[in-house]
């Protein structure tokens, strides 16, 4: 595991599709710029140096692509490399983070808006009011009488619960499936379960975990869970 930013991995994330092309562009541009500056310092033409720099750094990059592509260390197609396993672990952590953060926090906000529409925007208020009236109408048809205010509060509570249950269900099932699949309990599994459990009561914890996880992934190339696993060195239990 390296401590420098692993831009190659980060660029493989769906939300950062341009990172790798940008890295290549920046490398070649830096090569060109240093060529131009070096040429100027030697009393030469800046543009000539720039062109030479761009050509040589571009060719250097192309050569690396060819040589690394033919490396005997490359895993055969279809077989997972250790990087793939690490990427799986990272995605797993991010998945749990997203489930907890979006499920609990996102729906908590929506739940609050339903319970207390004064906080909502005008458009949101209109939608909530329309929906509440339609629920009341359907309830009346079934012989149930409930005020619009009560309906809004009940719907808000249900939305909030849905978020909390969803986040917990995703966290619990992802971690247990991972343990059963690997036939071991890792430190990252324990952390995931603890975060899921705490996020049920304090939804903000899920969001904080996601931020830490993403921060670790972007700046170190490995998720927080991966760091925990590296720190313990071995699985906690293996069967």
């Amino acid at each position: 595991m390296s401590n420098k930013p692993n831009i190659a991995y980060v660029s493989s994330l769906a939300w950062l599709p341009l990172a790798e092309p940008w890295r290549i562009t920046a490398t070649i541009a830096a090569g060109g710029l240093s060529g131009g500056v070096a040429s100027s310092m030697a009393d030469g033409d800046f543009l000539d140096g720039l062109c030479n720099g761009i050509i040589s750094s571009g060719l250097n990059h192309a050569m690396h692509l060819v040589v690394e592509g033919l490396s005997p260390d490359d895993p055969p197609k279809g077989k997972a490399s250790s990087n793939d396993v690490s990427a799986d672990e990272n995605n797993l952590g991010l998945g749990i983070g997203f489930a907890n953060a979006v499920g609990t926090n996102g729906l908590k906000e929506l739940s609050e808006i339903w319970k207390n529409p004064q906080k909502a925007s005008r458009a949101q208020k209109e939608i909530i009011q329309k929906k509440a009236y339609s629920i009341q109408k359907a309830q009346k048809a079934n012989g149930v009488s409930q005020s619009v205010k009560e309906i809004k509060f009940a719907r808000g509570t249900q939305i909030g619960k849905l978020g909390r249950y969803g986040g917990t269900a995703v966290g619990a099932s992802v971690e247990t499936a991972d343990m059963l699949y690997n036939r071991e309990v890792n430190a990252s599994n324990v952390a995931g379960i603890v975060v899921t459990g705490v996020a049920y009561f304090v939804p903000e914890v899920g969001a904080v975990y996601l931020i830490i996880d993403m921060g670790c992934l972007i700046f170190t190339g490995d998720s927080f869970g991966e760091h925990l696993n590296s720190w313990t060195g071995k699985p906690l239990f293996k069967w």
């Binding site: 249950y165 992802v174 247990t176 059963l180």
Partner: protein, 134 residues
């Protein structure tokens, strides 16, 4: 057993959650317990069969396995919610005067869940089949 647990949890959350639909919460907790039981049995089966009957031996991809377990979890919840929304009143009436209501408390649920999950590991540890690396 689950019906008793449902009504105990229902009353527990009914006291705590004012204005909320406690059937949803109680059903969720029963589903979570059933899911943990299911996972414990899977671990136990894996240990007893020495890996022959393990999730790994099904030869599914890791992400597919996780999706499968997620589906199982939601199925548990769906069927519990459906059942308890229909039969809530009958179950409450049935277990209203059950003697276990006198000593069962909400926090015991957490202990049961933890014991259920760790029991196969404890069992394996006692029988010396588990490799403890920590």
């Amino acid at each position: 057993m689950f019906d008793f647990l449902f009504q105990a949890l229902y009353f527990y959350f009914e006291r705590r959650e004012k204005g909320g639909d406690s059937v949803w919460t109680a059903s969720f907790y029963v589903a979570l317990l059933q899911y943990i039981m299911f996972c414990s049995l899977a671990i136990l089966l894996d240990i007893i069969s020495d890996g022959t009957w393990s999730v790994h031996s099904i030869n599914l991809k890791r992400n597919v396995t996780i999706g499968l377990f997620l589906g199982i979890m939601f199925l548990f919840y769906y069927f519990n919610l459906r059942r308890y929304r229909k039969k809530k009143d009958t179950i409450i009436a049935k277990y209203k005067d059950h003697p276990a209501n006198k000593w069962f408390r909400g926090w015991m649920y957490v202990i049961i869940m933890a014991l259920l999950f760790f029991s196969p590991i404890l069992w394996a540890l006692l029988h010396g089949t588990l490799i403890v690396n920590f």
